[in-house]
Amino acid sequence: MTPFLAVLIPFLGAAVISLAANRPRLRDGLCFALPVPLFLTVVGVLVRRVGGDDAMEQTLVEWIPGVSLTLSAQPLGLIFALLASTLYIVATPYAIGYLRAGGYHHLTRFMACYAIALGATMGIAFAENLLTLYLFYEILSISTYPLVAHTGTEKARSGARTYLALLLVTSIGLMLPAIIWIGASAGTLSFTAGGILDDSVSPGAGALLLVVLLYGIGKAAIMPFHRWLPAAMVAPTPVSALLHAVAVVKAGVFSVLTVVLYIFGLEYTQSLLTQPLMLYIAVFTMLAASLVALRQDNLKARLAYSTVSQLAYIVTGALLATELAAIGGGLHMLMHGFGKITLFFCAGAIYVASGINTVSGMDGLARRMPLTMLAFFIGALCVIGLPPTGGFWSKWYLISGAWSTEQYLVVSAFVLSTLLNIGYLMPPVMRAFLRPPPDDEPARYRLSEAPALCLVPLLVTAAGTLVLFILADPAYRLLAMGIP
């Protein structure tokens, strides 16, 4: 039960799945089984860490003099790994059900890349230094490209091109030089409580590094480098759900949180000249993306812009550079993950069962898909941040953090954005439940939920958001271990 095992299992799984390409039943069985050992390993690591063990640092190889490929279990990373591995369990049956029902091809390639992406996510979560994080960050970008372009249509290919181009241009063009710069001046890249940059670079250089590094982490989707996320929506919904609502985007905000906490350090971040600038850019992203989401009729596009906005919450939480807000950001990573995957699962189920992919087409849908729409409602509550869902707590801490630093502008932006959330997430629910179906065909009243493989996962995650309302306290205490 070590971090390395958690990284290894999905990669090995991908290899085994590829080898079973010619035996579909065996392959599907492997896909179903793979998340379980991964989840158990992560839980094992968590138990050991909480039980008082050290961080279980494992150096795999001395990579570059002074920087080694090292994994360790830190609280924030554990939350992230736990989130991704838990949702992987429910996303796998959903993916298989969805792809079968939708008549998709090349399932082996899909499931293998899916597993590799999860392995990379584990690597990011357990990275002990910035270079290890970068390694898995790039593996994640590359391994998700085939998933986005999966259908191979002209639209999918051009979307995937935008996706890969934006992610790699930012990571190669900005993040890599920033890492080299930090390594050259600080002499280390290890994540250290309190940061490593205080004395080693001039204030001007530190201010510049903050900008370069935050934009370099393109997966956090800070405007104007957010376009890849809507572009990625051409992917089949299971990809959008697990990867572009959880693994990939959370890898981005996790990296931002880690960098701010353990490379810059909270105090140092606050002293930087560009901290207010980046903070306001994040706040702007939060509001602007919500406004764009309001105008999207395509359900997945609406959810994508909502994700951009919610990611900006977490970046804002990191950039407020106080403990409370950082904890709020970490919690929101968890809560939003559950809420948003539920919404995407629902969007996919609706599409598979009825072919509807627009908000305007959802009139009266609740009569045909009551369970799905109920789950959608609960997921929406979580993303908005209303009790009794986990999303309530993360927003609570984010707003408290902003309040404690007397950033009232940020506080009001949080509140305003919450209203906008209601504005774009409630109409689909109200249309489905309150409006009559567009025409009075009896078929429109017949119950026709998506296949069970799709339906059960979304009910599970919806229930998860409710459970998290109660379980927020352990998560808070775990995060508080890592954020002094």
Partner: protein, 494 residues
């Protein structure tokens, strides 16, 4: 130590002797078997040689027992042992891979074909190991002549023109080199590298020495295909038989770079070379030109091999850029990329060769949807491409990391931007191929293509695995490159 000194010349001699024997062997199997055995033995020997000089020792062997300044001396330190390991290693992997392709492309008189391969490789190894400047010229001609012949073996008739063009450019380059060597001989009366280096200080004021250096650098820059002297390369790589493209792409330009460095550092001395001519500025300008022109032209190509050829021009630019930083770190980065680029280009050309073998054409249209039909080949191509772009955890990333760090350490921050931009250009041309091969359907009516046999795939995957192995375990590559740089410029450059 003494026994390895006695064995060291055999790295060159084995292919050199096996070559003519090969020409006499009948049929298709025997010449190939002999060539493979010869290169495998040479590989084992050069690994032993590198192990012997890894700690900074120097091996010296006097041919015919004529003591060095008079006779021909082979002189090996970490720098040339490292290059020899690359040449022999890549050819030992590629020769087994190339057999069915050669059977297909060169159906007749394979004895003489493999003889030329061995002689070309012997020439390259000779340039690498010798400590005698005239010997460098002789071996350069040996390898070049053999290479012209090999390129002309290409199935496409345009191979003849490509070979002829290479012949003209190559001869110009060799003549320049010869003029430079003649100047050295006139000024010092010696042809031995160490001896020349000792005698040169007396001649340092001479204008002729400056001219000699200029001739040698330009002559070798042609062989190196440094922009704007790269015109021979794309056609030569494109129309040569697949095995030859892969072999020379991985070795020939590397040897030219190595021997240029040997002249600059050991014969003329770094202090003199970089003061007598504005070498640093010139190399940096040409390197940047190579990086951008090569990458841009690679993006423009519609033939896979030609695209890879232009990409080689760009990659040579990175190596020369490392040298032009005039620091030990930059020189190490150059050597590191020299080795790593050999690995990635060999893998890329080898998988492209398999595509050509199975599907006939290498135009972008022929490649549509080929990924599903040849998944192992195209996956290998994509992974080697990741290494070329320079993403972790591949050898290409390690090269980029050291090159970028060297640029940062030399306070040339603007170069960081240029290196990264050209990396992204590499991403464009590699991703385009991957997208066409995997994400587009086969054209209507195109015949189904069979995946290559596993015996063909295994060597390609060995190369791909090497790209990943050396992207994680960098002891051999970084250690070798650092020691190579130390052997050349230790004590001169910071």
């Amino acid at each position: 130590m003494s026994s390895i000194t006695e064995l060291m010349p055999f790295v060159v001699l084995i292919p050199l002797i096996a070559g003519p024997v090969c020409a006499l062997l009948p049929g298709r199997g025997l010449p190939w078997l002999l060539a493979t055995l010869a290169m495998t033995t040479a590989f084992i020997l050069s690994a032993m040689v590198l192990a012997a000089v890894f700690d900074g020792a120097t091996l010296s062997y006097a041919f015919g027992n004529w003591a060095p300044p008079v006779g021909i001396e082979y002189r090996v330190d970490a720098a040339n042992a490292f290059v020899a390991l690359l040449i022999t290693g890549v050819s030992a992997i590629l020769l087994p891979w190339g057999k069915p392709l050669v059977d297909d492309e060169v159906p007749e008189r394979q004895g003489s074909f493999y003889a030329l391969v061995l002689i070309a490789l012997a020439g390259l190894l000779g340039i690498t190991l010798t400590g005698d400047v005239f010997n460098v010229f002789v071996f350069l001609e040996i390898s070049s002549l053999a290479t012209y012949g090999l390129i002309a073996h290409g199935r496409d008739r345009r191979a003849l023109i490509a070979a002829f063009r290479y012949l003209i450019m190559g001869t110009v380059g060799a003549t320049f080199l010869l003029i430079g060597i003649a100047v050295l001989y006139i000024l010092t009366g010696s042809l031995n590298m160490v001896d020349i280096a000792e005698r040169l200080p007396t001649a340092e004021g001479a204008r002729a020495l400056q001219v000699g250096l200029g001739f040698i650098v330009v002559g070798l820059a042609i062989k190196l295909a440094l922009f704007p002297l790269h015109h021979w390369l794309p056609n030569a790589y494109t129309y040569a038989p697949s095995l030859i493209s892969a072999l020379i792409a991985a070795t020939a330009t590397k040897v030219a770079l190595y021997v240029m460095l040997r002249f600059i550092f050991d014969v003329f001395g770094a202090a003199y070379s970089f003061a007598a001519l504005p070498l640093a500025a010139a190399l940096m300008a040409l390197a940047i030109g190579s990086m951008f022109a090569g990458s841009w032209l690679a993006i423009m190509q519609s033939n896979l091999k030609r695209m890879l050829a232009y990409s080689s021009v760009a990659q040579v630019g990175y190596m020369v850029l490392g040298v032009s930083l005039t620091t030990l770190a930059g020189l190490s980065a150059a050597f590191l990329h020299l080795f790593n680029h050999g690995l990635m280009k060999a893998a890329l050309f080898a998988s492209a060769g398999l595509v050509a073998y199975r599907c006939g054409g290498l135009g972008m249209n022929d490649l549509r949807g080929i990924g599903r039909q040849m998944p192992w080949t195209l996956t290998a191509f994509a992974l080697a491409g990741v290494s070329l772009v320079g993403l972790p955890p591949t050898a290409g990333f390690i090269s980029k990391w050291y090159l970028l760090s060297a640029a940062v350490a030399a306070d040339q921050l603007w170069l960081v931007g240029l290196i990264l931009i050209t990396s992204l250009m590499a991403l464009i041309y590699i991703a385009r191929v991957v997208e066409i091969a995997w994400m587009q359907p086969r054209p209507e009516g195109a015949p189904a293509v069979q995946e290559a046999h596993w015996t063909l795939l295994a060597p390609v995957w060995v190369l791909v695995a090497a790209n990943f192995w050396f992207g994680i375990d960098t002891r051999l590559t970084v250690g070798g490159a650092t020691r190579a740089a130390q052997a050349l410029a230790g004590g001169v450059w910071p």
